[in-house]
Amino acid sequence: MRQKLKTTRRTFLHLAGGATLAGAIPIVTVRPANATPAMLAAAIRNVVGEAPIHTGKVKLDIPPLVENGNTVPMTVSVESPMTADDHVKSIHVFNEKNPQPNIGNFYIGPWAGRAQVSTRIRLADSQKVVAIAHLSDGSFWSASADVVVTLAACTEEAS
């Protein structure tokens, strides 16, 4: 457990460190800058606060290689008995390199019976997708997946 916590914190510091570096380089682009790992970390902190994020319990089903980033099927499921005392309150999904780090927030409760949500998302680049579950006891659990995208979303011209 302790070991797990340590890893998470280290990963987070890694991200934060990388962010400072990225922030130091002036970015001059016409397109809005894509989300950076720092933005991802910030968006996650926005939801999670200071609470530690554990790895596990959450399963993120997403194809590892997608041809078209405009519509990528994704399923998040969380191991939970979904009782009044022990259930999933919400599921949050984030990405690393889209213009915005958020993908969606899904709010459920013990009446859901099963903590599982599916939707279709956009991915602007090959990147990491992170799903975080907020449990009724206040703990946060996460899973992440790397996706390789051959045709990116968002960047094409509008007709």
Binding site: N98, N102, I103, I108, W111, A112, R114, Q116, R122, A158
Partner: protein
Amino acid sequence: MASALINVPKKAKRGDVIEIKALTSHIMETGYRRTAAGDLVPRDIITSFACRYNGREVFRADFFPAIAANPYLSFFTVAQESGKFEFEWIGDKGFAETASASITVECAGRTFACRRPTCRRPACRRRDSGKRAPLRL
């Protein structure tokens, strides 16, 4: 324009976990794309979705531009009583769309007697007045 497609089981047994699927037609314009002339296309997305089961909210979602066009959702809930599911999508530029579906929830176990003497659900009443299903021992 009725552009929502929803899928709720017509019938379920009480206590069953049922899957609900909802799809609506929407461009989900991200606000990050440009036209050939270089102008930014303004954002036009659905920002929230909610599902109510007999008036009680059972599922809610916040959407961001990273949700694909024609947003699709699948989620679960426990069948508790017969009634109505109401769906609502709200988005930019005053977008609002609603849909509904009804469900009939029967007492658990059709082949043996429901042990709740007060059960007044159609399925149980029919069984009480007609031929009584054998009790499983």
